[in-house]
Subunit: 207 residues, 4 copies
Amino acid sequence: MIRQRQHPAATQRTTRLEAFTDGVFAIAATLLVLDLTQYSLGDVDSDAEMWAAVGGMGELFLNFALSFVLLCLMWMVHVQQFEHVARVDGTMVWLNNARLLFIVLVPFATNLTTEYSDYLAGRLAMPLTFFLAILFSWLQWMWAVSRREIMLPDMTREDAVAYGRSSLSALIIAATVVLLSPWIGSLAFLLFFVDPWLTRALRGKGV
Amino acid sequence: MIRQRQHPAATQRTTRLEAFTDGVFAIAATLLVLDLTQYSLGDVDSDAEMWAAVGGMGELFLNFALSFVLLCLMWMVHVQQFEHVARVDGTMVWLNNARLLFIVLVPFATNLTTEYSDYLAGRLAMPLTFFLAILFSWLQWMWAVSRREIMLPDMTREDAVAYGRSSLSALIIAATVVLLSPWIGSLAFLLFFVDPWLTRALRGKGV
Amino acid sequence: MIRQRQHPAATQRTTRLEAFTDGVFAIAATLLVLDLTQYSLGDVDSDAEMWAAVGGMGELFLNFALSFVLLCLMWMVHVQQFEHVARVDGTMVWLNNARLLFIVLVPFATNLTTEYSDYLAGRLAMPLTFFLAILFSWLQWMWAVSRREIMLPDMTREDAVAYGRSSLSALIIAATVVLLSPWIGSLAFLLFFVDPWLTRALRGKGV
Amino acid sequence: MIRQRQHPAATQRTTRLEAFTDGVFAIAATLLVLDLTQYSLGDVDSDAEMWAAVGGMGELFLNFALSFVLLCLMWMVHVQQFEHVARVDGTMVWLNNARLLFIVLVPFATNLTTEYSDYLAGRLAMPLTFFLAILFSWLQWMWAVSRREIMLPDMTREDAVAYGRSSLSALIIAATVVLLSPWIGSLAFLLFFVDPWLTRALRGKGV
């Protein structure tokens, strides 16, 4: 077991973790369309009724696009983190699994928020799911930083901490979205546009 | 962060972008079959009725095959583009995400065009979805060309521009298909067979 | 475009073709389960009724397992072929797409064969789909052999031809299954167990 | 066929087997969500009723999370095994396919266990499916150990055997879960927490 001896025991390469993660993100993003295909347009007898029926899918389209964009955003965060992560241990893989559990829930939460937007539980479903996914994304980076010699060999401590600030920024925004969504619904997600500025503020003037 | 320093800040390798893209294309292409499995053949009492029922799925099969072929075509364009793209920045990834958003919509648009081909909105669904996907494919290449030193280091400016002509050709054809489809429906997609000649015409005699 | 110049124009690496193919196979194989989850067990009031209901899914399970095993077999053939294929051209990619079109149809054909096994069209659905997939698998290899210098640089002509014999063997068996299935149904697929012997016979004593 | 000659005939690299496996695991894990999206919350007229309806999905959520965690666990076992496996032969690929067959069945078994937990067949569905998947995982490792020179070139015989003990531990626990589940249902899966201690006990004091 020569190859293994060179590396700390019980750590592994990230290739397959990345492949599994890319697969789950791609499938979750694509399954969002099932919400659209399974929607019944009802009886349609003229072009005017057809346009009205398609127009009636407005909120469905909006939440579909919103979940797709947020999934892409979270996938990009994962890609950026693992540009730096060299090896992972068991804890890291389980934090990744927890993160993916909430990614898998996105099509369900999107469906719930669209169909039951009149009720508190419906309005909370999407924000809460994304908040929990982002929470585990942040925990994963914190864990990597705490095992920096093994997992982030190419990064200085300063870079790693500064980098963690963008995860923290996303986490703070996601928590705020959860708090605001009972009042303003999916509009609250527009807060994510503030992310670049909040990241910069958290990093301080230095980076 | 030595490895990163060698490359322009905020760019990354294309490996995972390609994996995510391949995943989304593969899933969208495979989900097309759900349209077939969810179709009910109705009551069947004899071999003759069974053949008639299968024959009645003709348009369904046609649009299934058409969407599959177009998805394959668009996937091949992506592969050819990224044979040349060395690194991507944030804008490039978002243009890729927008492109994938419309790829994910293909099973829904196919379903709509098949079920509601009597109405304008139904006949436009597939052509419009493919047009928008191709539009972002063209924008992505234009962006790569404008950052040629970083993203297309192996290509001369002339090659890159000539290459963009095939994207432009596809875009022009897709726009024409949108304009023709209200009158001739999915038949309009046959225009894509003109692609090689139009590409050659756009490139001029040189390339 | 230095890197490209080293290779024949309009050919590309096989990495992404393999990733796309693996994705389509994995999804088609996994979607087979939807046939099982969407089956309604009906009213169940006791353990005895429950066992009877599960037992009544027998044919469903059988065709599920059969399609899964055949998909695995066809995936293995693809893997073995592309252990040798170094580069592909446009024709090769389109032959691969045609092959995948029928792989994508497998969940639909399986569903049809299970639900309509009383009718000829139902009994033919699975055998015909697999036959067409294997036909394109054979055509793809024939094309690779005809462009051997570019696509199979590591193989001697003799090895390549001998190798094509196993594709031919599978093709002959698949055609026979199509012919037998109207009489003996899915049982005909047991013929695939003859494959190793037929391959050897076709290769002659030499290989 | 120079490249091939260096390796034992009829063996191949593990890259695509790993890609196919990652794909099947990712899709099976993501399809679990369909069980949630297809559940109807029924008529809801107030926030109180909505919370009650969501609360009524408790068992559904529990079995969803349980299957997701078990799938992740089994995927991690596969990853760890194939960190060591260098090449595979036909038998190895078929054992992998059998393993994946039961992974694909997980969404169906989860559905059965959730909906029919009052009946023996329902309570057995999930434990039995995972037991069979783990059985083939163990058989696969045993086969690799028996062809150690080719398949596990980097491992000493002692390491390989010790490593097999963790597969054996999982197998013993899975069998016990099958035996206990008729009485205590999905609670029996908590036994998997004993895994680290049982593995250590089976390995003896040495490793």
